[in-house]
């Protein structure tokens, strides 16, 4: 199994969810995050003093999938998140040796889906 972590632009989340749904991936976890990447930040001014903000709002997705879902999940995320502009985000794929469903105690592939 794989654990797919994706950082995307917050406003692309609805699209990404849509694409994932099309790819029959309906389970996921979402957190909000701040990201520094190639994207330029902005200058915040407050009472005459300036400071550079380069941690921008991002959404972090975590999706656990079975091996044969790995690529279609990645494709779906890209389909939903890509605008072609800097800041579109990254996808990280980790190996997921074990997965357990708390409710039933099921393990492995059965638990992921």
């Amino acid at each position: 199994m794989k654990l797919i972590i994706a950082y995307i632009q917050p406003e692309r989340l609805p699209m990404v969810k849509l694409e994932l749904a099309k790819a029959e991936v309906s389970r996921m976890s979402v957190t909000n995050a701040l990201g520094a990447g190639a994207q330029a930040g902005f200058t915040e001014t407050y009472r005459g003093a300036e400071h550079e903000v380069n941690l921008l709002k991002k959404v972090r997705l975590e999706v656990a999938v079975n091996e044969h879902f790995e690529q279609r999940t990645i494709d779906a995320i890209i389909a939903g998140a890509r605008t072609g502009a800097i800041g579109d985000g990254k996808i990280f794929v980790l190996d997921l040796p074990r997965c357990i469903r708390i409710r039933t105690g099921e393990e492995g592939s059965a638990a992921v889906g």
């Binding site: 917050p10 406003e11 989340l13 909000n32 915040e44 001014t45 959404v59």
Partner: protein, 447 residues
């Protein structure tokens, strides 16, 4: 960066005008103050005190508007909204002093009889202005001005709500200078200034039409020229853009209701116990009825009681009773409020259906219920003519809407009136102000 500079330049230009003139009220004024005092008529003192207190109550309505508008929109636009509303108050007060007051109450200085008059720039109480002679012992010149000035900014604040979340700050403030400095007082002069509408028996006690509907027409024009916020109407469906703070919205509505006692009560223009207490009762009952009616209708429509609708319902009732608070009986006030409360919910749905995006329901509250309230005077008021009320509604619409529409269109063609999509996503707080409203808070915005 260029955008910012342009917007700033545009904005700066709005500030020079009011600061420039203000001339007549110089030394004489101060001297006038020094005089007076002994042998005052206590009735004059108490009447005048009430007008001043009413002005203070109307002032706090601006905080009400600010809170309501901020609460019902997303957190990423909060700084912008607060700034806009603060600036509107400042601009409104100064413009009204500069020219608005003298356009609205031209006295004998009519240029086109009953249609347009102007008594000159700045404030000038004259010899008797600060004595009982000014208004039959009801209030002084400066009390008159301050009460009216507090009203004036209101009509722009109404527009502000409808254009929230996408309008360019500088352009909008220029619109305000125009609207509060020219359009609002001219329409006001037709009725309150003793112009042609007054002569036709039109009755608009505290401004369902003259303030609320006029602001509402401006709001309609603004919302139409701007178009909806990104993401509001997607594939023909309405996607709610949820406000970020219901407590702020509730504070806003309670403060507006609170201030409305000054708005309506002060419009009696004296402390006459009979009329003021009567106006308090009708105002209160209409607001209460508006809350319940909007609640019931929103329960019917969405199966759950919608707080933002109940809040709008209170305002709907208040706007509705404003035209006739002095001539509509308490029972009828309940009816006016019930109808207004129902109307406001229907209107919100309607404007969404026709894809006019009004984040805070300004059109539904001020325009729709303002018209309803004005017509209600014709329906319920003794000796009031529904015809005259219609004429008043139409006449003010005929000036306010096209003027606002043209001005907004002009701005669109020149300075631009809408921020770029990217800035709309980021939020106007960062895009236009480089600031955030809630430093440190994790706000999760995927719209």
């Amino acid at each position: 960066m260029f955008r910012k500079v342009a917007a700033s330049a545009a904005f700066l230009s709005t500030l020079f005008v009011p600061a420039m003139v203000f001339a007549q009220d110089g030394a004489e004024a101060v001297e006038a103050v020094e005089a007076a005092a002994p042998g005052l008529d206590p009735m004059f003192v108490v009447n005048n005190l009430w007008i001043l207190l009413a002005a203070v109550l109307v002032f706090i309505m601006h905080l009400g508007f600010s809170c309501l508008e901020a609460g019902l929109t997303r957190s990423k636009n909060t700084v912008n909204i607060l700034y806009k509303n603060l600036a509107i108050v400042a601009i409104g007060l100064l413009m009204y002093g500069l020219c608005g007051f003298n356009l609205m109450y031209p006295g004998d200085a009519w240029m086109a009889d009953g249609i347009f008059g102007f008594a000159g720039f700045g404030l000038d109480p004259g010899v008797d202005g600060q004595t009982a002679a000014y208004a039959d012992g009801a209030y002084t010149y400066y009390s008159d001005f301050i009460f009216q000035a507090m009203f004036a900014a209101t009509c722009c604040t109404i527009v502000s709500g409808a254009v929230a979340g996408r309008v360019k700050l500088g352009s909008f403030l220029i619109f305000c200078v125009f609207f509060v400095g020219l359009i609002y007082p001219i329409i006001g002069s037709w009725h309150w200034g003793g112009g042609w509408l007054a002569e036709r028996g039109f009755h608009d006690f505290a401004g369902s039409t003259l303030v609320h509907a006029v602001g509402g027409w401006g709001a309609l024009a603004g919302a139409m020229v701007l178009g909806p916020r990104i993401g509001k109407y997607v594939d023909g469906k309405v996607r709610p853009i949820v406000g970020h703070s219901m407590p702020l919205a509730a504070i806003g509505v309670f403060l507006l209701w609170f201030g409305w006692y000054g708005f309506n009560g002060g419009s009696v223009l004296s402390a006459d116990p009979d009329t003021v207490s009567f106006v308090f009762v009708t105002t209160t009952l209409a607001a209460a009825a508006g809350v319940l009616a909007a609640s019931v209708v929103s329960i019917i429509v969405s199966r759950t009681p919608d707080l933002s609708m109940a809040l709008n319902g209170a305002l709907a009732g208040l706007v509705g009773i404003t035209a006739g608070a002095d001539v509509i009986s308490p029972l009828e006030a309940v009816i006016v409020g019930v109808v207004a409360g129902a109307l406001v919910v229907g209107a919100v749905l309607f404007f969404d259906r026709v894809k006019i995006d009004d984040p805070v329901g300004a059109l539904s509250v001020h325009l729709v219920c303002g018209i309803w309230g004005t017509l209600a005077v014709g329906i319920f008021g003794t000796d009031k003519s529904l015809g005259a009320q219609f004429i008043g509604v139409l006449a003010s619409a005929a000036l306010a809407f096209p003027a606002a529409f043209l001005f907004f269109t002009l701005l669109k063609k020149t300075l631009g009136i809408r921020v770029e999509a990217d800035d709309e996503y980021k939020g106007l707080d960062i895009a236009e102000h480089g600031q955030e409203a809630y430093g440190g808070f994790q706000v999760f915005s995927t719209q």
